[in-house]
């Protein structure tokens, strides 16, 4: 096709009086937007390639750059808005599925923002977390229903299955090496080790050099089984079966061959340059009893030394599915909501399939309690957790811990430009290109991640103190500390919280 009908989405503005033609922008842009015209000694931009990742803006030593949304307005039409029109243009020009990256950017309600937290006033004291003890430690895993002790000898007869401690109830979501660079993996691993939490390999295996962080590592066993072998399972603290992902429930994944570099190939244990295809289902799981079979296969393979987690996307029947997962022997149920992110997903799936995590969490926690099996597994939620208040609200709704993916990536540079699927991430995150991947310096990135968790920990403690509790478990599932604002009765009922003021 000769010409695309797509206008540029963003305009690159360059302040000529500031630009010194140093070409830092040229070198920093992963999308070849900026270029240097030698003849005219001038740096210029190809606006149509810009994804507004702002790498150039941040790196310009003279602050000469600004990126603006193209002010071009389509003829006003509530139904046929720009995005709808442009998607059709792209598909008409390529005949392909539209890909996107990061989480759902549509205007579905964010229930976190309609939930408010409680604080103590007069009748009970709030606690000052700076000086008084405040416990955030959380254990993940299956617990027996009761503790049995031989009171004659004082011997504990209850044998606890392996439980995994978290010093902060925030873990790093599964993001595979291949979708992101090894440097990002290393940053997450180091930060998790330092902060006393867990990171998750995602489905692309664990690079040899990260085995040393195994005791803070959740290894995933996904449908592609990439890099899954006995050593990988042995290295981990937790083994997670990935069934689904919030950004693309029911969808497999294709890591394109060009991202399968020598190192990615070695880690996934597949030939370099071949597509890494993750089938939509696990082909040994077509039913809940098959899931149980795989859970126990993994427990057998690790001799019952590690909790097994099962991660699903939040879908309509999440509560029933979660119940089944617990009954199938999982020690942890991880649920990823509709705002969960991805390196690449069909846009149509990301934007339309799944349910908000708040609702899924509320119903799963409620269902497991009603069935008396809530103690048999920990519940971890993911999908768009943005700050420590979201964490606290999730825990009050019933989560044991949360996963953060996007927030972690933003902490190390991501500007949520949603172009992860291109592999050209200017911030060096969602890429395996060596030139770009160097942009993440694990020394810096792990430090930033630890800072983020430290800051959130402080804030969580402040919020707990305000509520007058000094241990996180007193908040866990304690929905009395939540009230809803601007919610319908049905929403309040599903969330299991009362209207503010009541």
């Amino acid at each position: 096709m000769l010409k695309t009908y797509l206008p540029a989405r963003f305009i690159v503005e360059r302040n000529a009086s500031r630009c010194i033609q140093c070409q830092v922008c040229v070198r920093q842009c992963g999308f070849d937007v900026h270029y240097y015209d030698e003849e005219d000694d001038e740096v210029r931009a190809r606006d149509e390639r810009c994804v507004a990742c702002h790498r150039c803006v941040v790196f310009c030593p003279t602050n000469a750059l600004t990126i603006r949304k193209n002010p071009l307005d389509y003829r006003e039409n509530f139904n046929w808005r720009g995005e709808a029109i442009e998607d059709i243009i792209k598909q008409s020009e390529t005949g392909g599925i539209l890909l996107t990256g990061m989480g759902n950017d549509k205007s579905y309600p964010i229930y976190w923002d309609k939930l408010v937290l409680n604080a103590s006033q007069v009748t009970n004291p709030s606690i000052d977390p700076l000086r008084e003890p405040m416990e955030l430690r959380t254990y993940l895993g299956r617990r027996p229903d009761k503790v049995e002790v031989d009171w004659e000898t004082g011997k504990l007869n209850t044998r606890l299955t392996p439980l995994v401690p978290l010093e902060v109830p925030v873990m790093f979501s599964a993001i595979s090496y291949g979708a992101i660079s090894l440097n990002v993996h290393e940053s997450l691993a180091r930060a998790a080790s330092e902060a006393g939490t867990l990171w998750n390999t995602g489905e692309g295996g664990l690079h040899k050099k990260l085995y040393k962080y195994g005791s803070n590592t959740i290894v995933q066993v996904a449908s592609g089984r990439f890099g899954v072998h006995p050593g990988y399972l042995d290295a981990a603290r937790v083994v997670e079966i990935k069934i689904g992902q919030g950004a693309k429930p029911g969808i497999g994944g294709h890591l394109p061959g060009e991202k399968v570099s020598a190192e990615v190939a070695a880690t996934r244990m597949i030939p370099m340059g071949t597509d890494a295809l993750s089938p939509a289902p696990h082909h040994d799981i077509y039913s809940i009893e098959d899931l149980s079979q795989l859970i126990y296969a993994l427990k057998e393979a690790t001799n019952y030394t590690k909790p097994v987690s099962v991660k699903i996307a939040a879908v309509h029947n999440a509560a029933a599915i979660a119940s089944g997962i617990v009954r199938a022997g999982a020690d942890i149920v991880a649920i990823d909501g509709i705002r969960g992110a991805t390196g690449a997903a069909p846009k149509i799936i990301r934007d339309n399939v799944g349910i908000p995590i708040e609702l899924a969490l509320a119903s799963v926690d409620q269902r497991l309690r009603e069935e008396g099996i809530r103690n048999q597994a920990s519940v971890v939620v993911a999908g768009g957790i943005r700050n420590s208040a979201d964490v606290v609200k999730a825990i009050a709704l019933g989560a044991d811990a949360v996963y953060i993916g996007t927030a972690a990536l933003i902490s190390i540079g991501c500007h949520v430009c949603q172009a992860c699927y291109t592999g050209r991430c200017s911030w060096g995150i969602a890429t395996t290109d060596s030139y770009l991947a160097k942009r993440i310096n694990p020394d810096i990135a792990s430090h930033r991640l630890v800072n983020l968790l430290r800051a959130w920990s402080h804030e969580i403690k402040e919020m707990l103190g305000g509520m007058g509790v000094n241990a996180l478990e007193s908040l866990r599932g304690n929905r009395l500390h939540l009230r809803g604002v601007g919610l319908t009765d049905t929403e309040l009922e599903i969330l299991g919280v009362r209207m503010a003021g009541s």
């Binding site: 009893e289 149980s292 509560a319 069935e371």
Partner: protein, 380 residues
């Protein structure tokens, strides 16, 4: 307990998801045998279930009442029982009634009251209604009209025994070693919620049709709405129920042969149909076009049985397992071969069918008096 919103499906899920082990065995010579072997076999697949459902269907157990419909009914309380029995007496001739014998079993918690009634339609049956239709209608009436009663078996010379527990526990509870039948099916269940309801266990049954099922029927929503047009009321909120009704509709009411019904529930792919000779193509196209809403989509293996016949069928891309075995006159169907081997180590033959290809066992002397071998039936 029929108040499904409160009992069986308290959360109002679209359908209750369950998975399982299934087993069936049939002596095509008609020789009857006890429930000992099938109990052992289904128990060998213990890990496929989670103790929240087990059940058996047996054919040929009530030869002394062979002409009567044997209604197995479970009650939550005596009051309901009295009301239902009044209803039965109003609409049927009740030849014999007794409580189904049980034995105390440690694993069985709060069992319902289970009675059986050998009945025959009385004069209230409208002339334009067959006996079978009349029984179906009244079973639906009881199951929807009485809060705490459930008819879970309604065929002649056969019976369903099921409840909450592992199948071997249910067998022990109902003393199945004391029954003899020529065809047994069994089921161990793995539902994803704990509100185990005795009526929710498999087999699902209407008249002498029983279905045990492994898998989840993703097309359940439309299958159910289609069947509702034909008067079937899905009270169980489970995908297995629609299989039972679909079989009843296709085989009994629409008179399709089982081979054709299998092609409705698990039709060949269009690309396959396009390659068939013209006459076959026309048949398969018609079946698929007319009964498109009865395509059972998603993973399933079912064992459907009725008088004199046992059919094993998987979905068209065989997402759930099914192994068949033959020893002499006996046909075995199972989720796992080891379960068959446990009770019959020296099989003549074992194999796994292609997806959508039914395995059929028939009594050598069937109702029409035709002799049929398993071998022939197996190759569809």
């Amino acid at each position: 307990m029929k108040d499904t919103a409160n009992h069986y499906n308290p959360y109002g899920d679209d359908k209750v998801i369950a998975a399982c082990s299934i087993f069936g065995m049939m002596d095509t010579s008609g020789r009857r045998f006890s429930g000992v072997d099938i109990t052992k076999a289904i128990a060998n697949m213990h890990d496929r279930g989670n103790g929240l459902g087990g059940g058996f269907g047996v054919y040929g157990i009530y030869p002394e009442h062979a002409d009567h419909y044997a209604l197995h009914i479970m009650y939550e309380d005596k009051l309901t029982q009295r009301d239902v029995e009044d209803f039965l007496r109003d609409n049927f001739h009740v030849a014999f009634a007794e409580e189904v014998p049980t034995r105390r079993a440690a694993a069985i918690k709060s069992p319902p009251i289970v009675w059986r009634y050998f009945v025959y339609p009385n004069s209230r049956r409208p002339a334009d209604r067959s006996n079978d239709d009349y029984v179906v209608e009244l079973v639906m009436k009881i199951n929807t009209g009485f809060r705490d009663a459930c008819v879970f078996s309604s065929g002649r010379n056969m019976g369903v025994f099921k409840g909450v527990g592992y199948p071997e526990e249910i067998s022990e509870y109902f003393r199945l070693e004391e029954y003899e039948g020529y065809l047994w099916t069994a089921h161990g269940r793995f539902p994803t919620n704990s509100k185990g309801w005795w009526g929710g266990a498999h087999p699902f049954s209407i008249l002498d049709w029983t279905v045990v099922h492994n898998g989840e029927i993703s097309s359940y929503g439309i299958n159910r709405r289609f069947l509702e047009m034909f008067g079937y009321i899905c009270t169980m909120h489970t995908d297995t129920e629609v299989v039972a009704y679909a079989v009843d509709l296709l085989l009994r009411r629409h008179g399709l042969p089982i081979e054709a019904a299998a092609k409705v529930m698990a039709p060949p792919l269009w690309s396959h149909i396009d390659r068939l000779p013209d006459n076959e193509q026309a048949l398969y196209k018609s079946l698929r076009q007319v009964y498109s809403s009865l395509l059972l989509n998603g993973p399933f293996t079912i064992i459907v049985a009725h008088e004199g016949e046992m059919i094993g069928l998987t979905d068209r891309i065989r997402l759930r397992p099914l192994t068949a075995g033959v020893k002499g006159d006996v046909l075995y169907l199972s989720s796992e071969e080891s379960a068959i081997r446990l009770i019959c180590p020296d099989l003549d033959k074992t194999w796994t069918p292609m997806g959508g290809e039914p395995i059929i066992g028939r009594l050598k002397t069937n109702k029409e008096g035709k002799a049929v071998t398993i071998e022939e039936c197996a190759v569809a």
